[in-house]
């Protein structure tokens, strides 16, 4: 802080304060992280090792991982997760930047109404509408495949994404577009070559926030997918539901948990800065 305290004893008092602050933060972080450390340490044991998980890192073996890997059909689930997440996020970015274009640019009551119309979708919980949605899909003749949940991922992401992009659209200078118009650019061209590239920070934010929940969502895949080969990673975890209260299965269960979370952890560690900025930008600027 900018507190320039030069009284006698002020310096040592400040060091004390600082030490206490560090202690508090470290203790807090340890409490937050400890379940994850224990889970990781247990996952490295052989499936039969049933000593208390609190004895950290007493054994290093890949046996639990091997078992979890084959129980989960990991490569298939990973591929399904990647395909649905990437496909959904791509569609979300395209659809919602397009929708935000007139909403953010045109100053009319219609545009304002549409803005609030989309945002209002935020408060509708998925569980509430899941049966009518299933019926609608049925009536439209859309079969239950690994791609069916994508429809709902896209739809559910629209309220937030349209909100995000409409907010950012105001930061894209109108003059640039006007000069593009003078140069004879058509509307689609103006959108794709002038406006869209300037929305890049918002696109990063959208990809990260929406990608995160879609990757981790188990609800829509659980309802729409019945074939095991079509499972994504989180819904594949449901098969372990019975193991969570059975200490004999913990090592394999925890290995499965780590395997399920691992891809996202790696992405996060590689793109930490983008994650932090993206999450904040979505909420602060919007």
């Amino acid at each position: 802080m900018g507190n320039k305290n030069n009284e006698t004893g002020g310096a040592s008092k400040r060091t004390m304060k600082k030490a206490l602050l560090y202690a508090a933060v470290i203790v807090f972080c340890v409490i937050v992280i400890s379940p994850l450390v224990i889970v990781f340490s247990s996952s490295l044991r052989t499936p039969g090792n049933q000593t208390s998980p609190l004895n950290l890192f007493i054994e290093f073996s890949g046996a639990s991982y091997a078992q979890a890997f084959s129980n989960m059909n990991y490569p298939m689930e990973l591929l399904n997760s990647i395909m649905t997440t990437a496909g959904s996020v791509l569609c979300i970015v395209i659809f919602s930047t397009m929708a935000a274009y007139p909403i953010g640019r045109i100053k009319s009551k219609t545009a304002k109404f549409l803005y609030y119309f989309f945002i209002s979708g935020l408060i509708i919980p998925s569980q509430m509408v899941i049966v009518p949605i299933a019926q609608t899909l049925n009536r439209l003749g859309i079969p239950n495949t690994r791609f069916t949940p994508m429809i709902m991922f896209i739809t559910c992401s629209l309220p937030f994404s349209v909100f995000l992009f409409s907010g950012f659209m105001k930061g894209v200078p109108v003059e640039i577009e006007e000069s593009a118009y003078m140069d004879g650019a058509t509307l689609p061209r103006r959108f794709s070559t002038v406006v869209f590239p300037l929305l890049q920070p918002a696109i990063v934010s959208c990809v990260i926030t929406q990608g995160l929940w879609i990757w981790n969502d188990y609800f829509y895949p659980m309802v729409f997918i019945s074939k095991k080969a079509q499972y994504s990673l989180p819904v594949g975890m449901l098969q372990f539901l019975g193991d969570k209260e059975n200490p004999a299965q913990w090592n394999v269960l925890f290995a499965a948990c780590v395997l399920c979370a691992l891809p996202l952890i790696l992405v996060f560690l590689a793109l930490q800065k983008q994650f932090v900025n993206g999450i904040a930008a979505g909420a602060v600027k919007g």
Partner: protein, 304 residues
């Protein structure tokens, strides 16, 4: 040219931004109307039928579903649980999130490491988090029970999920553990917009650190507080995951939230008509809470 309506509101501003732009809405609007708004409207229709979710040969039953939902106590029970859950998660995750953000916003070393630690749980799927915390809460062999035994307590007696008085608080803690990191990151970004010179001026004027926080920082980040509270209220009212994964609504009815009750009525009991009536009432409740909160937050933000 720009047309101006009677009230002086420009309907479209220039030849550059014409009504043709509305065509860009088509894909998003199509998805939104077909897969979100239309199903919501269908709920009203199903709510007056005895539809079971599978057989389309259903009858109209009038207001019977509503009467049933209101009289059998499931609605009031799950409203109460949802409110307690939402209030707990909103208050605690915002207080912790803001406090940690304020500490990390000072000149502290290893800021990045602490931030990563606090945010890390947000990366995990709710289902993985549910499994991990089932272990943490497990009586006897679980993490907390083990720690209690280590310091000489009775670890076998520790069973937060098995007691109807504590189960709801226990699953709310899980949500807070997973969610406060995101809240914190948003607060950090808000705090970084606070002008350092204002804080220096305040400290020269003799403000203590508490006074600086109360009179300078909090008012300046009031819009961040608003957005964080709104986001956490919305997700709190949707509470479903941990009731579904960890407690299955139990013990008794103690962790049945609105959305868990809807899911159970529709899928386990196969009473889609009743679930729809329940949803309509739950929806009214969610809208009411959201609107009240928005009005209150707007007022607060102006005051600050």
């Amino acid at each position: 040219m720009a047309k101006t309506s009677k009230k002086g509101v420009k309907n479209y501003t220039s030849p550059v931004f014409t009504r043709r732009m509305y065509y860009f809405l088509i894909p998003a609007l199509a998805f939104f109307l077909i897969f979100w708004i239309y199903p919501v409207l269908q709920l009203f229709y199903y709510s007056v039928t005895d539809f079971n979710g599978i057989n389309y040969d259903f009858d109209f039953v009038g207001m019977k579903n509503y009467a049933r939902v209101l009289s059998n106590g499931t609605l009031t029970n799950s409203m109460k649980n949802t409110l307690i859950y939402a209030v707990m998660t909103v208050c605690i995750s915002n207080i912790i999130g803001l406090a940690v953000a304020m500490i990390l916003n000072t000149k502290i070393k290893m800021k990045g490491l602490f931030r990563t630690c606090a945010y890390f749980p947000a990366l995990f799927s709710a289902i993985v988090v549910g499994f991990i915390w089932s272990y943490v809460y497990m009586p006897g062999a679980g993490m907390i029970a083990n720690l209690i035994t280590m310091v000489g307590g009775d670890g076998a007696a520790f069973n937060p999920l098995g007691n109807y008085k504590t189960a709801l608080f226990a699953i709310a803690m899980v949500e807070i553990w997973k969610g406060f990191g995101t809240t914190m990151i948003i607060y950090l970004a808000g705090l970084q917009t606070v002008d350092e010179s204002l804080l220096e001026a305040a400290s020269i004027d003799g403000c203590t650190q508490w006074q600086q926080i109360k009179w300078v920082k909090l008012p300046l980040i009031s819009s961040t507080i608003t957005i964080n509270v709104i986001l956490s209220v919305i997700s709190g009212l949707k509470a479903f995951d941990y009731s579904f994964i960890m407690t299955n609504g139990g013990p008794g009815k103690s962790t049945k939230t609105l959305m868990f009750q809807v899911y159970e009525t529709a899928f386990t009991d196969q009473k889609m008509g009743r679930a729809s009536a329940f949803s309509v009432l739950a929806f009214a409740f969610i809208i009411l809470i959201t609107v009240l909160m928005l009005l209150y937050m707007n007022k607060k933000e102006v005051e600050l």
